[in-house]
Symmetry: C2
Subunit: 227 residues, 2 copies
Amino acid sequence: MHQESHVTSSNIVRDIIIGMSDGLTVPFALTAGLSGVLDTNHLIIVSGLSEIAAGCISMGLGGFLAGQTEIEHYDSELKREYEEIEKVPETERKEVEEIFIAMGVDEALSKQVTLQISQDKDKWVDFMMRFELGLDKPDKNRAYQSAITIALAYLTGGLIPLAPYVIIANNQHGFYWSCVITILALIVFGYFKSKVTGQPLLKGTLKVAFTGILAAAAAYAIAKMIS
Amino acid sequence: MHQESHVTSSNIVRDIIIGMSDGLTVPFALTAGLSGVLDTNHLIIVSGLSEIAAGCISMGLGGFLAGQTEIEHYDSELKREYEEIEKVPETERKEVEEIFIAMGVDEALSKQVTLQISQDKDKWVDFMMRFELGLDKPDKNRAYQSAITIALAYLTGGLIPLAPYVIIANNQHGFYWSCVITILALIVFGYFKSKVTGQPLLKGTLKVAFTGILAAAAAYAIAKMIS
């Protein structure tokens, strides 16, 4: 039970990181780019919110459908493995043996271990799924949860760079404040991301901040160039 | 060698799918949203290109840095496993035994297999990495290749919905043509994605098209509402 709760919480953390990485970066970059070419804040806010809606749906729904596909794929492979151990048990036993031989176990012992594993059909199929196909059982509820977590994290991240344009009427001032609070947010997010994923704190934080700043600089440069 | 080339090509395909899923969806949705509120195509194109630049960098560089982190994480875990089998070999052997017992192998045989695997330190560590920690050796060149593939796929996907606004001066006509060619592109992409990932073709195609259309509808509705 402890293990399970650990896995669940780190999946949520992983989804928050996925959503917030893009959420803090893309809407920030887009609004920064547009702030250099638009006269009023209004259109910056409209563009920013449109982008956030599109990003939430693309990442959230996209993630949900990908999760569903993963479950379907796992289930169809599982069915096939059960069929195969019925139809061609000797071929399947040979496959298990070869996995053990590759691990450095001699042939005689590999045969013995294989014989024991293949006593229990569920354990045998489980072995094939994990060690032959490299597939872990996907959690059926994860797809929903993951979609909502990613979308909310994208929304939260995206509203941060947008807030100054809503509060401050002047779009140049809005741009400065958007840079200030978003870079701060990127640093805070980068720090927690590094802590959670066990990366060196300074390096991890700088990576996140640098990605956001580079994306914004590129969007700004492109918008300036073509307008 | 055959196996390896198979894995490499499907990694590229996977990266193309990742980049193009969002690339066909988010710039399409954003420009569709803005076409309802902007009078000239010029700003739609500026916004679209800014978004594509931001998206390419966020997804490409983000993916690159994530890949680097994965390599660093793998290397540090590898180093720790080598240290552990030197320092506490009995504990590590016990862990291997427990993995086999969980597979349905009896205690005596688990001990024997463990003894054989632990003869060769490289194979032993390899076993611990894959079966205790569930880590596969990341390819050092993958991070670069993956970043470039994802960014180019995003760019390619993003230019499709933008093209009509560049070619057609009237923004309403641009919007209609953008919808037509992007929905066609989503269908073609959804078809190939389903084929490559082994999903049912009709269902898989509809999923991709539906995500793009829903994102565009949401962006359009939000832009209309607040402008």
